[in-house]
Assembly symmetry: C2
Homo-oligomer: 453 residues x 2
């Protein structure tokens, strides 16, 4: 197969202590990572030194789960950690090139606030901001925002479709050259280059303008992770990065072809969207060392935590089934559909028991688990990239900082030797790292000027 002309993209997906559910118990992780600013500054600088495209932070606006025994044994279910936008704004002061992607939900936010905060981060960082748009799949979040129940899946996506249009419209409130700052004339900005949004929709009514100059990137990069039908439809129209869980090459290729194939109907070229599946690498200098590392982490999984994580990811109550029972059929829920399908397919394909499945997913939570030497891991990433299963990968280190150090010191040099990954940043914005064009300014449909009341 001919080598692809571009190189691959890498995200450093930071999670408190690492992505393995028991990471916080392991000596290679920082147990108090969730609110340790110095730890995050060190990770951000290390990821930038390794030339990652971006840092990636997930988010949840509630603790994820109700089983207090299981919750109190984990560090990664949003039990106690920095809010992502404040953390990335902090990290923007100690980095210069790496992209900064934070998650924010369209279900429990206002588009004006989201547009403003990401525009602000884009200015603070000199054009390195990205917004990971999620629709909030966890019903517990509703209770923190005055609702008894979560919006249904379809309605969440309806709101998200409108939300993203309002946000991008607000980013275009000012034209790029609006701020003339002409001291002699006493003119700070050109009034002809300020536009009302005047949005009136089913979910939102937002007049605008946004009170932030147009972001350095035009629009911060839009990232999405939903892999359901509604999620893919939204991504095909609006996303510039899709983060996804794909456990096999065949699944990854099918997802890649499906999503890229949907873009033409929105007038978009396939390379305007980068597909970056998660990859959970356990790196050893030998295969045995890698397997031993993985085994060490797996041995730290408390059974209460494993079962609870499986119930959370599947959305199903499994309390009637013992650990050694085969995974039963799962009822349809209002949660994230794509993850549930993935788990079921995996269990069926390999004939897994409940214990097998929770041990399998506890590490990477359904993401692609790679246990091996730097050459083996680089082979797997290269194969998926060259076979159009991915445009890059969101790297989910099992422990932090240990797992990130392993990947940057052992795997990235191997990818660079193969010409698959940059050895220096060519640009200064996240869009430039990704090879994405800067969106031109579009005037809102509404009137051209801010009107008097």
């Amino acid at each position: 197969m001919a080598r692809r002309s571009e190189t691959l993209h890498l995200g450093a997906f930071l999670y408190p202590g690492g992505h393995h559910v028991a990471a916080w118990r392991h000596p290679a992780s920082q147990a108090d990572a969730g609110t340790n600013a110095a730890h995050y500054r060190q990770l951000a600088r290390a990821a930038e030194a390794a030339k990652f495209d971006l840092l990636f932070l997930a988010d949840g606006v509630s603790i994820r789960g109700d089983d207090i025994d299981a919750l109190s044994r984990t560090a990664i279910r949003y039990v106690g950690q920095f809010e992502p936008l404040t953390l990335l704004s902090h990290l923007s002061a100690v980095t210069e090139r790496i992209g900064l992607v934070a998650t924010a939900s369209t279900t429990y936010n206002e588009p004006f606030h989201v547009a403003r905060k990401f525009a602000s981060l884009d200015h603070l960082s000199g054009g390195r901001a990205g917004w990971n748009l999620v629709t909030s799949a966890d019903p517990r979040e509703a209770y923190n925002f005055g609702r008894d129940s979560h919006l249904a899946h379809a309605r969440r996506y309806g709101r998200a479709e409108e939300f993203v249009d309002v946000v991008t419209g607000l980013w275009d409130s000012f034209e790029d050259e609006a701020f003339v700052r002409d001291a002699a004339e006493g003119r700070f900005f050109d009034p002809d280059k300020l536009h009302l949004l005047g949005h009136e929709g089913e979910h939102f009514s937002v007049r605008g303008p946004l009170n932030v100059p147009r972001p350095p990137q035009g629009h911060p990069v839009i990232v999405q992770a939903g892999s359901s039908e509604a999620g893919k439809a939204l991504a095909a129209r609006t996303a510039e990065i899709v983060f996804t869980a794909q456990a096999t090459l065949a699944d990854a290729q099918a997802f890649y072809a499906d999503l890229k194939g949907r873009m033409a109907r929105h007038g978009r070229a396939p390379d305007e969207l980068k597909i970056m599946p998660g990859a959970f690498p356990v790196v050893g200098r030998t295969e045995t060392e890698a397997q031993d590392k993985y085994g060490q982490l797996q041995d730290l999984i408390h059974p209460v935590v494993g079962r609870s994580l499986l119930e959370q990811l599947s959305g199903a109550d499994l309390s009637a089934y013992p650990d050694d029972a085969p995974v039963p059929d799962l009822p349809e829920t209002n949660g994230g559909k794509s993850r549930q399908d993935l788990l079921l397919r995996l269990a069926r394909r390999e004939g897994l028991t409940i214990r097998d499945l929770y041990l399998r997913i506890a590490g990477a939570r359904g993401h692609w688990t790679l246990v091996g030497t730097p050459v083996q891991i680089a082979d797997a990433l290269e194969e998926s990239f060259e076979a159009y299963g991915a445009d890059g990968f969101n790297i989910m280190p099992p422990t932090l900082p240990g797992g990130l150090e392993d990947f940057t010191s052992l795997v990235i040099p191997e990818l660079q030797r193969r010409g698959l990954f940059r050895t220096a940043y060519a640009g200064s914005t996240l869009r430039e790292h990704l090879g994405l064009a800067r969106p031109p300014h579009r005037k809102p449909a509404q009137s051209g000027r801010v009107a008097a009341e």
Copy 2:
């Protein structure tokens, strides 16, 4: 009069380019300040080197005004600048001791988000966060959040009273020593030290818990600025700093005595709240130099800008009155009442025309204007402090960075010589700078544990 036993507190109130409405046109200001991160990093470091208690950032979730000609001639009416929480999170990475106070409205935010972001900033900064609670006095903000009109004054304050209780309750979700991180036992936090809020009120229903460990300060410092009856009632019960506009010593003393006198009924001692009026200092090495500096700035005020600012602050339509007419009676509005009263009293007392009044307020927007030598300015600050007109001052430099440099290099050394201001930080948190106790954890009224659904 005996010297007060404590020393005074100083805030550095940062505004894009400076507080004078025409500052951006002056060579001592940074015209592109609003989105210039390096400029803010320099200001933050300079204020910390001068031992200010805190940085203070105002906020608005809309452009303030509809007169596009006037708006386009100003830098300070939220026309285009960083969002405060992202900016302070950025600045927390380049400072170590100075407090960080950002404004957030209770009218267009959710208490869960506000609690979470300020808790996050408190952790990022090692206990330096403060929340300036405002209720949004500008009707244009409603249009960015799906409302046709603003909440009435009384209802805004009802919402604020409930909002602040939800936020402080959420900060107490975890007890201080909840995160035990016992790797051997596999216990990350002590489940008995996590509490649901279970708030059900008129405006909000918030289950909690907040998914952030208890902030280093227990609660970030609560700051308020409303000086209406409802504002004073809220402040007497909940505020720890009150920022206020007081143009004369007699007004300041009356406000001080009134507000401190209201605290006992809430079981609070007077020194649990620090009153810090704004002070707009134009510093010259001689009085003539100071007057010349002020005159230079005043000469840069465009008439369109002056009139428009007066209309915005007074909430009144003055288009029927020429510049040289006496200030007419102003109809009552739904905006900020306290500022309107202040302007009217000033105009009556001194028999001002509309032009006189807009020139007078354009600089400090109704705040205390001090034009003079370092000794004269220190005298005035000392007099107000010793006469219980203030516990400190929120310094509003006319230009930035120039006006801050003048104050730190000329006035602060004079205050230090008099023993009125610190020469080194004694503590490391904002509470410690202010001499405020760390609030003990209170269990929410609701059940002691997070229950299963």
